[in-house]
């Protein structure tokens, strides 16, 4: 999943970037409102983490502008402003969640997961498709009754395909959800990840859980494979 983090505190920004990447997210970061608004307008993100007190353009203006442009990306406001009025104003302007600083990193991750699930209309963190069980909260995967150890990128790819089960997801779409804006990853990295994932999930199976649609992308059938 790909996040945009707009936070002016260099230390907090660097820490969250580091932590969220370790948690499996692709993270783009901006230090002020102007850069953040540009990134949010130019790219597709699953969630935007937005500070309110920002240089150049404040967070509420960034949020209002995004909504006026029709961008429906989920926005989680991360602010030191803890008054009820501040929260109400942020939520009424179109934010999907509000977290007050200081905060628990685990809570931030949980809220981000919830927002990602909402993006794909999934209610429960545990999703079952045939022999595949995936816990999006614990970031754990079981297939045919055995736990499968995946790298963060592999997990991220599988999660997108599961959350969008029954839908063909293009390579470009997968790349954008897995890699940062300034990533130099090769264009065939998605194919390499799918190959690796197939090997870990069903090494001996003749029919893979992840199906290839030539010229279109990849998909997992919502029905049992």
């Amino acid at each position: 999943m790909r996040l945009l983090l707009i936070e002016d505190s260099a230390r907090l920004r660097a820490t969250l970037e580091r932590g969220l990447r370790k948690a499996g997210y692709a993270v783009d970061a901006a230090a002020d409102g102007r850069e953040g608004l540009w990134l949010a307008t130019e790219n597709e993100y699953d969630v935007i983490v937005l500070d309110l007190m920002l240089p150049e353009i404040d967070g509420l203006t960034v949020l209002r502008t995004l909504r006026e442009k029709g961008r429906t990306t989920h926005v989680l406001i991360l602010s030191a402003k803890d008054m009820v009025d501040d929260r109400v104003q942020g939520l009424r302007l179109g934010a999907d969640d509000y977290l007050v600083k200081p905060f628990s990193f685990d809570e931030l991750c949980a809220r981000l997961e919830a927002l990602v699930r909402r993006s794909y209309r999934a209610k429960s963190p545990v999703i079952r498709i045939g022999d595949l069980d995936i816990n999006t909260a614990a970031r754990q995967v079981w297939y045919a009754g055995r736990e499968v150890n995946l790298t963060p990128r592999e997990y991220g790819l599988l999660e997108i395909l599961v959350l969008r089960a029954g839908e063909v997801v293009s390579r470009q779409d997968l790349w954008e959800h897995l890699y940062e804006f300034d990533s130099e990853a090769a264009s065939n990295v998605v194919d390499v990840l799918v190959y690796s994932l197939r090997k870990k999930l069903d090494p001996g199976s003749s029919q893979s859980l992840i199906r290839t649609r030539r010229g279109e992308g990849y998909m997992i059938d919502a029905r049992e494979p």
């Binding site: 505190s9 907090l12 370790k22 500070d51 007190m53 600083k101 200081p102 905060f103 628990s104 990193f105």
Partner: protein
């Protein structure tokens, strides 16, 4: 009594009571005297009536009295009395009411009627009049009689030949006098009661603006200080200065509360941001403890955050300490050029990194008497501020010179961020141009600390902005400036 209303009521009532009582007493005295005079005049007139009825012929004197004319001397109940004597001689006539009893007689020759109180023969309190006279004589013509009446007894060979005493009850007079006194007493008491009500009402009306003011003040708290007491045109003149000064006090309090709230909010934000960083750094480090490289970075960040919080707390403590003014000044002669150069060394690495040169325009001989430590803190903060917010590549200039009777010390730099609207807030605590406060290295306390230190050193501070050129000037009084160096200052220019 501490109540203004009670004091006014009591003193007005006591005053009005004394005035009314004195007035009642005077009136009672006047009325009583007049009634007594009228009573005595009537008694004398009655005696003179009897005198006119007395006749003398030769040695014989008699009274031509008729009870039809004066029945009061004959009646059985509550009669009047008279008795007629020849002067120093026997009784000539008594009223029938007197019977054989006698009325008291002074005796001797009386020049005018003598009045006195007595107990009447029937036991009632009475009053009598005694007169001496020459009875009317049919042997004398009118001219002679007048001559005898008008001449004094000493000039008359034989003097008055008869003495008459008339007595009558004075109980009616006493009753009338008592009635007058009771009436006056009741009137005074009534007036006092009315006055009490009037005083209470008047005092209540007069002090109602105070009550209104008290009600308004009672309803005020820290959040409603902007509701000033009304300085209405019809407010009592005595209250106008009170309300005016009260409103000034409320305005100062409101500003103080606003500053306090702003200070608390800023302090919370100043501490909340590093706390948020601290928690995020530790959470991430603890979540992946096996990543030693990341842990090492986290520890560095935790240390930096600790140092930042330490700076904020140290600045706050310094502010509190200088604000309290409880530290005595350690004054000494301070050579400004040497001090400025020394203070610049602390910020010179950062200034060099930003390409900012340092121009020191302070004469060698310029020395002031001041607390060196405090002055060094001021200069260090001004230099740090200039380097942090000055335009990269532009110089920072420190200048000092004699100015009037004192001296002026300025730190000048170029900046593109400030506007004239920012100048009034520069010395506020936690104020920073960047509302987002992104720069964790600065807390917005430096210039506030400069302001507090200037106050303790009695230095006047002024911030000026001329285009991109920003300058903070400190000026000191003559007492802190060594005049003997002035010549050297002038000479060194």
């Amino acid at each position: 009594m501490r109540s203004l209303r009670g004091r006014l009521t009591i003193w007005l009532l006591v005053g009005m009571g004394l005035l009314l009582t004195a007035g009642g007493l005077v009136l009672s005295r006047v009325i009583s005297s007049q009634l007594r005079r009228d009573y005595d005049a009537a008694l004398i007139a009655k005696a003179e009536s009897l005198e006119t009825l007395t006749e003398e012929q030769g040695d014989k004197v008699w009274l031509e009295f008729s009870d039809k004319i004066m029945p009061e001397f004959e009646r059985r109940e509550n009669p009047d009395y008279f008795q007629l004597w020849r002067r120093n001689g026997p009784v000539l006539e008594r009223s029938r009411s007197l019977g054989t009893r006698d009325l008291p007689r002074s005796g001797g020759r009386l020049d005018r009627p003598v009045l006195s109180d007595l107990v009447l023969p029937d036991g009632r309190r009475g009053r009598r009049v005694e007169i001496s006279f020459h009875p009317r004589s049919e042997d004398l013509d009118e001219e002679e009689r007048k001559g005898r009446q008008g001449s004094s007894s000493d000039e008359t060979a034989d003097g008055p030949t008869a003495t008459l005493t008339v007595a009558q009850s004075r109980e009616d007079l006493d009753a009338l006098l008592a009635s007058v006194q009771v009436t006056l007493t009741l009137v005074v008491l009534g007036l006092l009661g009315g006055t009490a009500l009037l005083v209470k009402a008047v005092v209540g009306i007069a002090l109602s603006p105070l009550d209104a003011l008290a009600r308004q003040l009672a309803g005020m708290d820290a959040h409603s200080l902007s509701q000033k007491a009304p300085e209405a045109a019809d407010a009592p003149a005595e209250l106008v200065p009170v309300i005016h000064h009260l409103n000034e006090l409320l305005a100062r309090l409101e500003a103080s509360f606003a500053r306090e709230r702003s200070f608390s909010a800023n302090l919370a934000h100043e501490l909340r941001t590093p706390l948020a960083e601290l928690r995020a750094v530790t959470d991430v480090a603890l979540k992946w403890p096996e990543d030693s490289a990341s842990t090492s970075v986290s520890l560095e960040e935790i240390r930096a955050i600790g140092l930042q919080m330490e700076t904020v707390v140290a600045n706050l403590l310094a502010l509190a300490r200088w604000d309290a003014k409880d530290r005595p000044l350690q004054t000494s002669e301070v050579p400004l050029r040497e001090l400025a150069a020394s203070c610049w060394t602390a910020v010179s690495p950062e200034a060099e990194a930003k390409g900012m040169a340092f121009h020191l325009e302070v004469p060698d001989g310029l020395t002031i008497v001041a607390d060196r430590e405090k002055l060094a803190l001021i200069l260090s903060n001004l230099f740090a501020n200039a380097v942090a917010y000055g335009s990269p590549g532009c110089p920072v200039t420190c200048s000092a010179a004699a100015a009037g009777d004192g001296f002026a010390l300025g730190v000048r730099n170029s900046t593109a961020d400030l506007g004239p609207q920012d100048l009034p807030r520069l010395f506020d605590r936690f104020w920073r141009k960047d509302a987002a406060r992104s720069d964790g290295r600065h807390s917005g306390l430096g210039l506030a600390l400069v302001a507090a230190l200037c106050d303790s050193l009695a230095l006047r501070k002024e911030a000026r902005l001329d285009g991109d050129c920003f300058e903070i000037t400190l000026s000191g009084p003559s007492s802190s400036f060594l005049h003997r160096t002035a010549a050297r200052v002038e000479g060194s220019r």
